[in-house]
Symmetry: C2
Subunit: 218 residues, 2 copies
């Protein structure tokens, strides 16, 4: 039986959704490492829509699940259907959407709240002693939801300070590196939290996926 991994998306686009390169390179690594995957996203409106050419807020609204379907080629399920018992692990790519649509870290920092279904998915997966991988800014979700977790958000800075305020231990990591919390079965990698190239992101995603899959066998 192939390892089955759930991938939690937050829209489609680095500034208001999931970071597209991180998602695609995570899916590629999962398949190359012999795992199958199923994408999920919450059926909620995005915090806002950003024009990715100018950086301006656009006067329209988009749905996280509907936009996530662009990256997943339609193969994405409402997060309401996620059951930790159906999967061996959960992986959460980054992008501002992870900090805007899955939780409110982008606007509230350490005072953030988490979408209820996202919280349930993370907490139930962790409670089932199944590994969770998170890329880029997504580890802030684990800092909030899992007590005394060790994560990386790349360099020291505001995001790392926020995670520390929520009780996490932040460990600096660079391109392609992962930080492993063996106790909590948490794997994180900075990816585009750093000024990375696409192949550096591929290295980080691949290293993370390998460690997550390895933990499902351990």
């Amino acid at each position: 039986m192939a390892t089955k991994i759930a991938v939690l998306l937050a829209g489609c686009g680095v500034y208001d959704g999931s970071e597209i390169h991180e998602v695609v390179l995570t899916l590629l690594a999962l398949e190359q490492e012999g795992a199958t995957f199923q994408c999920f996203a919450p059926n909620v409106e995005q915090m806002h829509v950003i024009n990715h050419l100018t950086g301006d807020v656009m006067e329209e609204s988009r749905n996280v699940l509907v936009e996530a379907a662009r990256i997943a080629r339609g193969e994405v399920l409402d997060l309401e259907q996620y059951q930790a018992s159906d999967f061996d692990a959960l992986v959460i790519p980054g992008g501002f959407g992870a900090a805007k649509n899955l939780c409110t870290f982008a606007v509230e920092g350490a005072e953030m709240s988490v979408n209820e279904l996202v919280s349930k998915a993370v907490v139930s997966t962790h409670a089932a002693k199944k590994p969770i991988g998170a890329l880029c800014i997504a580890p802030v979700l684990l800092a909030k939801l899992i007590a005394d977790v060790r994560i990386t958000l790349g360099d020291a800075g505001d995001a790392a300070d926020g995670a520390s305020k929520m009780g996490a231990t932040h460990q600096v990591a660079t391109h392609g590196e992962i930080v492993v919390d063996a106790t909590h079965r948490i794997v994180t990698s900075p990816c585009y939290m750093l000024d990375a190239t696409i192949s550096q992101v591929a290295e980080g995603a691949t290293a993370l996926v390998r460690e997550v899959i390895s933990m499902t066998n351990g």
Copy 2:
């Protein structure tokens, strides 16, 4: 000097824009093979917007250049700025957007017209004897614009028939394969024209990129 490749995008999403996996895996292959890249897209409205979860047309409009910026993380130029003399080759990923926003093949088949700037980019690159790579459905542009070209659209079928009517020779190809027209310096690969997996698409994009780069040295 690194090889400089222009990548022509058509939006963001398989059903109304560029196929996201094909773009990301092309950019990754370009970087891994030592090339630099610059994305371009025409500054025009999409033919329509498709809800990628349901397949339905949505009652809104989106701009091809603005949406392409999602895949390119903002680093995309208006196609108006493209000069063949600035680059060593041009690569055009697929997705329905290539057949809806760059030309009208999706609705008019062999009777299609091509966006004026897209036509100028392809014709000027070909005239400068620089290679052009096209994935998935994008080779229909070359069938229309380059006389007696040899391309693949994967299996025989309606798309291949349309390309033949426009004067191209269609060659069947399967996952990861490329078809090379050495006379015209054209490289094509079926990618998601077939029922491919993401790693098969990576193989096709990588093979295409290697051949295109090799042609820039020959």
